[in-house]
């Protein structure tokens, strides 16, 4: 049986279950898989965390280095977010340059970090126009069992919350916490027929008819959204999912706060 045919059978099964309000792994429609965060996973990074959502595992490492500001923002630090969807993490990924899926993942996480003001870029200026802190947020996917965006965001927010700016190493003062001002969380939903489920597995992502990611902050703002995949959402859908996203977001922010 070819992979394509197997995928089709699985998709039909997932959609049939959804019609009855069920999911493959027995979860409720608005139930996330188990979440686990291991902060400080990598000693070579200035901040890091391993985030697990079910079997999906993303390791985020933050490196903070001295560099030059962009000419148009001479008083601000620089933030770079990257997601590596390495072929170790999924039978679907092949070696090669970043795929558009990897680019989308990193850009959606990046947008939430920026829009939520998670990193105080103004506070990362050392000498205007000359020397600023450059903050690299690298998300390394280890096991892709669905919902990469949320896992990468979770790993990034957790890693940033633990990041120390290594001032001593670069001889510009004392080490200090990066101290994220805000903690963005992304919550992703997919449409399966008439149901919309949170935290999709890989099988649900393949089967889905539209994906919507909503990033929230702790002050009650939506800070980023991304509709992906073939499919559509009504304005009513969006408002309803926004409410669900706030609930999930607040719960996960609590988790990070307690690390």
């Amino acid at each position: 049986m070819s992979g394509e045919v197997a995928a089709e059978i699985m998709t039909t099964h997932v959609l049939d279950l959804a019609k009855k309000g069920h999911r493959l792994d027995g979860r409720a429609l608005d139930e996330m898989r188990a979440v686990r965060i291991v902060p400080g996973y990598v000693a070579s990074a200035d901040g890091s965390a391993l985030a697990q959502i079910g079997q999906t595992k993303v390791l985020c490492g933050v490196k903070v280095e001295v560099g030059k500001p962009f000419p148009d923002t001479p008083n601000a630090g620089v933030l770079t977010t990257n997601a590596e969807l390495v072929p170790l993490s999924s039978p679907l990924f092949e070696p090669g340059p970043p795929t558009v899926e990897a680019i989308e993942t990193s850009r959606v996480v990046d947008r939430a970090i920026r829009a939520a003001d998670a990193v105080d870029l103004a506070g990362l200026c050392i000498t205007p126009e000359e020397k600023v802190w450059v903050c690299y947020v690298d998300c390394h996917v280890l096991d892709h069992s669905g919902n990469l965006i949320d896992a990468a965001m979770l790993a990034a927010s957790a890693a940033l919350s633990k990041t120390i700016v290594p001032s001593k190493k670069f001889e510009v003062g004392e080490d200090r916490p990066l101290g994220p001002k805000h903690v963005p969380i992304e919550t992703t939903f997919v449409r399966l027929g008439d149901s919309i489920v949170v935290d999709p597995t890989r099988e649900e992502e393949v089967a889905c008819q539209g994906r919507l990611t909503i990033a929230t902050d702790e002050a009650g703002n939506v800070v980023a959204m991304q509709k992906g995949k073939v499919g559509a959402f009504s304005p009513q859908d969006v408002m309803e999912l926004t409410d669900r996203a706030f609930a999930h977001g607040d719960r996960l922010r609590d988790l990070i706060r307690k690390l």
Partner: protein, 257 residues
Amino acid sequence: MGSIGAKDVPQLLDANGRRIDGRGLEDLRPLRIEAGPLAQADGSAFVEWGDNKVMAAVYGPREVHPRHLQQATKAVVQCRYNMAAFSVDERKRPGLDRRSQEISKVIAEAFESVIFVEEFPRTSIDVYIEVLQANAGTRCAGVVAASVALADAGIPMVDLVPAVAVGKVAGTVVLDLKKEEDNYGEADMPMAMVPRSGRMVLLQMEGHMTRDELKRSLDLGVIGCKKIYEVQKRALRDRYAVAGPKEGEVASSEVPA
């Protein structure tokens, strides 16, 4: 949204609720659509929208390149959104940067949501969008143009797809951001809608919006899309009113905002 460390933030809304270019909160910039301007493409459209100039072309259904992307039961929809080097203030290096690749992806997914792809198994429908002059809202202008180009190419779709960006400026939700509003505003939300179903096939957002502002933005976006839909339909009508399909002659449709 990129205002950190910027110096001279302009006043985006005056005391009378007038915007930097004199528009009201719910006004669109002037929009002109020209169907069929290109000879080589199977379908094409040119959009002038405020200070944006965007060309779209469609090729297909045709053979899939690269071959391994071919699908046994449906057409694949491929999109390439590209900015000309001279379309922006500081010259842009030619080629697709990461932003362009992401936009290409979400636009391809948007159109695959409305095209009857099952009718053309093992083929590709290729949508090309070239931004020639950019002033905020280029991805929406690209969707508006590509949608007309698809119709011009005779590709069967559920409906045309209008698109517009809504945003927040000086604390207020406004329709169809221009460059200064995009740069110094508080939120930007591009969306593309299928008028027939009222559902959105493209939706992105970045910035800060409360629940209520988001609701207001969605409502305003729907209003904007409906206006744009009319211009799209007129452009196609004009195209076929003037002449039969193709061959150099050009039809265009304008509406004041």
